[in-house]
Every structure is written in structure tokens, then in C-alpha cells.
């Protein structure tokens, strides 16, 4: 139990995928202008991450390893992730067409979110069990969501502020992201024995 808790803490805060590992920056900067859109994206990514880590565990242990096809894992995982993302897009479109419109291209781009593939590969490398893989995936998603929502709140404030013309938009956003990454460095060592 403590092991799972530490795993979750590690994936969400200490080794936050966006702010510590710098993966998944595309949706991080792209969907962080309005809170409602960012919340939708955070939930979608959480969903994808959890599902993808579970399914990739299944693929690895029940198909690829028994058949000795470990080297095909990247292709296989990408296929799975693409399928899961497409399924997520169908779900979003069915529940909230507005969110679907708002997220636009960024929804299918979750496929190329290196954080998702990263989680799948890390789980396989560390030889985690199914429960651990799922917890790791969900925590990574939660950490991603947390970073995204915090960043969105800051960007909403920045949009209303008097930013010098040369910095308006992406430049000041990236500076802010850098400062957030510095702040998250404060979690380093948390949970270490």
C-alpha cells in the first residue's frame, strides 16, 4: 500500500511528467488558455493514460512477451494509444460537442503526447504488475492535469495583464512554465528513503 502511494506521489509530483521530465509540452502550452478547455483536456489525458497503461501491460504480458516480439513494443504501444485516443475522442464528441470543438486538433494529438508512450515504456522497463502500472498511469495523468490546470490559471491572469508586446502570448507563457518547473523542483527527494 505504501509502495503504491509512493509510486503515485512520485509520478504526480516528484517526477511530474510535464514540469520535471518535460514531456507532453504540446498540449500543455496549446490548451492552457481557458480553464474549461484545460479541464477537459486534463480529464481526457488522465483517461487515456490510465487506459493506455492498462492495455499496454496486457499487450506486453499476454502477446508480445510470450511471442518473443519485445522489439515490436513501440509500434504496438503506439497503435494501442492511437486506438484509445480515438475512443476518447468518440466519448468526448458524444458527451460534449462543445468541448470537442474547443479541443479541436489537440485531442487526436494526445497520441503523440510523449508522456503517454513514456508511461507505457517505463512501466514495461520497470517490470511493474498490472495494478502498479495502472496506478502509475493514473498518477502521471493526475500530475499532468495538475500542472496543466495551474498553468492555465496563471495564463488566464497573464492574458488580462499588461505584458510587453514582445512577450505577449507564448513567450511569457514559457517563462512562466520555467518558473513553475523551478517550483516543482522543491518536491525533489520527497518520499526518498
Amino acid at each position: 500500500m505504501t509502495g503504491l502511494l509512493l509510486l503515485a506521489l512520485g509520478a504526480s509530483l516528484v517526477n511530474n511528467f510535464v514540469l520535471t521530465n518535460f514531456l507532453g509540452l504540446c498540449p500543455f502550452v496549446g490548451v492552457s488558455r481557458r480553464f474549461e478547455a484545460a479541464a477537459g483536456m486534463a480529464l481526457a489525458t488522465l483517461f487515456v493514460l490510465t487506459l493506455a497503461s492498462g492495455l499496454s501491460f496486457a499487450l506486453w504480458h499476454w502477446v508480445l512477451q510470450p511471442l518473443g516480439l519485445e522489439h515490436v513494443r513501440t509500434l504496438g504501444f503506439i497503435l494501442l494509444i492511437a486506438g484509445v485516443v480515438q475512443f476518447t475522442e468518440l466519448m468526448v464528441r458524444a458527451t460534449s460537442p462543445l468541448l470537442h470543438q474547443v479541443l479541436g486538433l489537440f485531442l487526436p494529438l494526445i497520441t503523440t503526447n510523449c508522456a503517454v508512450l513514456g508511461v507505457a515504456l517505463i512501466n514495461v522497463d520497470r517490470q511493474r504488475g498490472l495494478l502498479e502500472s495502472l496506478v502509475y498511469g493514473a498518477s502521471a495523468g493526475a500530475g499532468f492535469g495538475l500542472a496543466l490546470l495551474l498553468f492555465t490559471a496563471l495564463r488566464e491572469r497573464l492574458d488580462a495583464s499588461d505584458v510587453p508586446a514582445a512577450f505577449r502570448g507564448a513567450p511569457v507563457a514559457l517563462v512562466t512554465a520555467g518558473l513553475m518547473a523551478l517550483a516543482f523542483m522543491g518536491f525533489a527527494g520527497l518520499g526518498a528513503r
Binding site: R157, D159, A160, S161, D162
Partner: protein, 515 residues
């Protein structure tokens, strides 16, 4: 009795009215001309019921409201109506239609008015209607029709009467002078209003910087009513005299946002309104005069004047000794919530409780020379008397985010100006929020218009579709009948499209429309 609840926010402002209040109320000189505004500041307009050239007496009805948010307006002098046109006024746009009456100096009273009113024998509903006819409105600065407020109070069972004698603005002292001079009148007014509401409890709230007024009220309190009526003393904090803030401070009840004090069981009236009600009950006179403070460093002798409604501001300033130092602004109201006037030809209304002839030194804290960016100091949130976050509202207003500004409560702002006063960056917050509310109102109206237009459009489309379907149906019926008659299959008679439908619109349903 001291206040039961601490007022947590607001500002303690230096009072600039002690000497002015100590002087007796000056009776206003007769004026040759009065200018009665048909927009008394409540958002509702009045319609004149007299024509140019009509002869009126003091107390004749000259204008009636179009809805329950306006008060009946009476002539304040006897004479002749010389004009009804757009004049400068103390409204937001700076002008409104006004009735100008030239006085004949006889001060004849309208004969149809009663000489006194036995209010205790009247049915409360009838009493409220008589108060409505007498044009009694809130004299604390809002001018809201008292009868409408009493009706709401009766409907919602708001039987606790709270008389507002707090007068928290630092320059205004007309209520203070009135309470000192006419304390019995205040209690008589309380009796009338209580009878109208059907309640017993009455509390007069006074700030602690008015010891003479408190003493006068306590001395004049009838012994028979000491059980239910009392004087509550509250600390002198601005804007504790605002209706909701006072109810919260004296009774500990919070009026819900978007609700009325009546929802909290309280009816709040200004002490001057109560005195006006008492005057009506004693003499039968409708509301034609009020006490107004004429003050500021720009007048020679700041004083309180009892003047007729419609008296030009110039005459009021003359009663206070005339202009002195070069004034910067002529303000209707105090330095916190007043509105600047363009000229002194404006006539006194029921809602003007102070004429503030201000020099630059008097307006220290409100003149924003140069606006700087917000430094997020949080002083505005500390002093906000409604408990809002002006910093967040300001951010939302600058971003033109209507949803966020409403969520942070821009509609609940009472425009007291405290945040404005303390802002170190000199941001004109009160003005900006007023603009934001105006913008929200316009958006709401636009949405309502659009909804109505959509409904009419859809109805019209349905009507045209049904007409087309009916036409098609009758055409088919005619064709079937023709086929039966001739026996030949599929030979349509040239029964043109207008079969049976007499009153079709010329041009059909699709001509005249752009593709």
C-alpha cells in the same frame, strides 16, 4: 444601546461636518423659478400631467410615475408652468425633461389637499396608498418611492422598522441637523410607518459621532413605546449608513445577494423620510421640501438649508453665503458617492441630500491623476463594505470577461467608493465597475431582444410553412377533383396556385428576400 455587531470593513473617514451640523437649519429663501426633474434617479421616468401655461398651487400633482419605481411629483411653489423640456439635471446623461414653474410669490396651497391625516384610524393598505399619492420617497439619496418599499415590506412580512440616521458620509449632515431639531417628528414618522407595516419594533440607528442627535432622540422617545422602540448607536465607519450594511451591523442579518431587505424581515427608511411622513400626517402636505447640506471649502458658510424641491443649486449656494475659493467641482452628494454637476442651474430633487462645492483639497483621495497598474496589494479587498474582491473584479473587467465579473459580484457592488479611495495605484475602481454594470445591462438587453426576435422569426417561418403546406394540399385536392371530373388520369386543370386562398401576401413568401 451599542451596536450588536462589528462592521468589519469600510473606512474611518475624517468627519468634515461637525460645525455645519451644529448650526440651525436655515429656511430657504423663496425662489422665483423652480425646475422639477422628471427623472428622479430611480431608473423610472415620470410623465407630466400638466401642460405648459397651467396654473398650479403648492402641492398640485404635476407628474405621475409610469411604474412602481417612480414617485408622484408635486409642485413645490404656486404659479404657472412655463416650460416642459430637456434641461440640465443631476442624471447620468446630464439632462432630462424638467417642468419649470414660475412662482407667483403667493405660495397658495392646493385646496384639494387634506389638512391633517388620522393615520392611526386608516387601514394599512389605504395608508400606503395615501403615502404613494403624497409622493413620499426616500430622502437618504436614492429617492425610492416609500409606498413601494412599504408594499414589499407588507408582502414579505418585514415588520421590523429600521430608521437610518447613520449618515456616514464625511461631509453630509442634513440628517444630523434634522434629528437634533425634529426628533419628535422622527418618532411620529416611525409610528406612521409602523402602522403601515403592521409591526411594533422600531430601531433608529445613529453613528456615535452625533451625540447631540442621540440625546435629542432619546429625550423625545415617547414613554409608551420604550419597550419596542430604541436608539442603536453604531461606530462611525463609512459606509455603515448604506441600507444592507446597516441592517447587518445593527441586526446581524445579512440581506441575500440579489434580494431585498424585506426578504430579511427588515424595512429600512431614512430618518428624513420618516420626518417627511410625520409632516404629511400632521399637515396633509405632500413631499415638496427637503433639508439639504450645502458644504465644501468652496462656499462661504457651509450650512443645512430646508429648501423647496426644484430650487436651483445656485440659490442653495447663495443661501450658504455664495462661492468662495475657486471650486473645482460642483457635486450632488458627498465626496464618496456624489455625482458631478455641469452647471448650478440644476434643480433640487428628492434624491439630492448634499450640494458639495469642492476644491481640490476637499477631493483628496478621489481625484485620480494618473492610473498605474494594479500591484495586488489587497487594500481594496480589505475595505470593501460588501465583502467583494475588487482586485478580481477589476481584472475581469479589464479582460472584458463578463462571466467572471458577475461571478466575483460586480452587480452586488454598492458603489461606495472605498476601494477607489485606498487604491495606491489610483485606479478609478468605482467608475470602472459602474461602466461594467452598464455594459452588462446592455448585453442583457441585447440578449433579450435577440431571444424575442428568434421567437418571432421561428413563428413566422412556421406560419409560412403551414401556409405553403395548406396551399399545396388544396392544390392537390383540386387536381384530384379535376381528375375525377374529367376521368383522364393525371390531367391537371390550370388551377393556378391561388386555389381558394384569398388573402395571400402579395409577392408570395419568397420574393423580396435576399438570397
Amino acid at each position: 444601546m451599542t451596536a450588536r455587531h462589528h462592521f468589519p470593513a469600510g473606512l474611518v473617514l475624517e468627519a468634515r461636518k461637525r460645525t455645519t451640523a451644529a448650526q440651525p437649519i436655515v429656511a430657504g429663501e423663496p425662489v422665483g423659478r423652480v425646475l422639477l426633474a422628471l427623472d428622479q434617479g430611480t431608473g423610472s421616468v415620470l410623465e407630466p400631467v400638466v401642460a405648459v401655461g397651467a396654473t398650479v398651487a403648492r402641492g398640485t400633482v404635476v407628474a405621475r410615475p409610469v411604474d412602481a419605481f417612480g414617485a408622484v411629483l408635486h409642485a413645490s411653489v404656486s404659479g404657472r408652468v412655463t416650460a416642459i423640456d430637456l434641461r440640465e439635471a443631476s442624471t447620468e446623461t446630464g439632462e432630462c425633461p424638467c417642468i419649470e414653474i414660475e412662482s407667483d410669490d403667493r405660495d397658495a396651497r392646493e385646496p384639494s389637499l387634506p389638512s391633517a391625516v388620522e393615520f392611526a384610524t386608516l387601514d394599512p393598505a389605504a395608508l400606503v396608498e395615501q403615502l404613494r399619492e403624497a409622493g413620499i420617497a426616500g430622502l437618504g439619496g436614492a429617492g425610492f418611492p416609500t409606498a413601494t418599499k412599504l408594499c414589499a415590506g407588507r408582502e414579505r412580512g418585514a415588520r421590523v422598522l429600521l430608521l437610518d440616521g447613520a449618515e456616514c458620509e464625511p461631509w453630509i449632515c442634513c440628517d444630523d441637523a434634522l434629528m437634533r431639531a425634529q426628533a419628535e417628528g422622527v418618532w411620529t414618522g416611525a409610528a406612521v410607518l409602523s402602522h403601515a407595516l403592521g409591526g411594533d419594533t422600531c430601531i433608529v440607528a445613529v453613528e456615535d459621532d452625533k451625540p447631540e442627535a442621540i440625546a435629542a432622540l432619546r429625550a423625545a422617545l415617547p414613554d409608551a413605546r420604550r419597550a419596542d422602540w430604541s436608539v442603536a448607536v453604531v461606530p462611525a465607519v463609512y459606509p455603515q449608513g448604506a441600507e444592507r450594511q446597516l441592517i447587518s451591523a445593527v441586526l446581524g442579518v445579512e440581506v441575500p445577494a440579489g434580494g431585498l431587505p424585506a426578504d430579511a424581515g427588515v424595512t429600512c427608511q431614512n430618518v428624513a423620510t420618516a420626518a417627511a411622513v410625520a409632516h404629511w400626517a400632521r399637515t396633509g402636505d405632500p413631499l415638496t421640501t427637503r433639508v439639504v447640506t450645502v458644504t465644501g471649502s468652496g462656499v462661504a458658510r457651509p450650512t443645512n438649508v430646508r429648501a423647496r424641491l426644484g430650487t436651483p443649486v445656485a440659490a442653495l449656494v447663495a443661501a450658504a453665503g455664495g462661492y468662495r475659493d475657486a471650486p473645482l467641482r460642483l457635486i450632488a452628494g458627498g465626496n464618496m458617492m456624489g455625482r458631478a454637476l455641469a452647471t448650478d442651474a440644476v434643480g433640487l430633487t428628492k434624491a439630492i441630500n448634499c450640494i458639495f462645492v469642492a476644491t481640490e483639497a476637499d477631493l483628496e483621495g478621489r481625484l485620480h491623476a494618473r492610473e498605474l497598474p494594479c500591484i495586488r496589494c489587497g487594500d481594496c479587498a480589505r475595505v470593501c463594505s460588501v465583502g467583494l474582491l475588487p482586485q478580481q473584479i477589476h481584472r475581469a473587467v479589464l479582460a472584458r470577461d463578463d462571466t467572471a465579473s458577475v461571478r466575483f459580484g460586480v452587480r452586488d457592488c454598492i458603489d461606495c467608493g472605498c476601494c477607489d479611495y485606498v487604491c495606491p495605484s489610483q485606479i478609478p475602481l468605482a467608475w470602472r465597475f459602474r461602466e461594467a454594470r452598464r455594459h452588462l445591462q446592455e448585453r442583457e438587453q441585447a440578449t433579450r431582444r435577440a431571444s424575442a426576435a428568434r421567437t418571432r422569426y421561428e413563428r413566422r417561418e412556421r406560419r409560412l410553412r403551414e401556409a405553403e403546406a395548406a396551399r399545396q394540399q388544396s392544390f392537390e385536392a383540386a387536381r384530384a377533383a379535376a381528375r375525377l371530373a374529367t376521368g383522364a388520369p393525371g390531367t391537371p386543370r390550370p388551377a393556378a396556385g391561388g386555389s381558394g386562398d384569398g388573402a395571400r401576401e402579395p409577392g408570395g413568401s419568397s420574393s423580396g428576400e435576399r438570397p
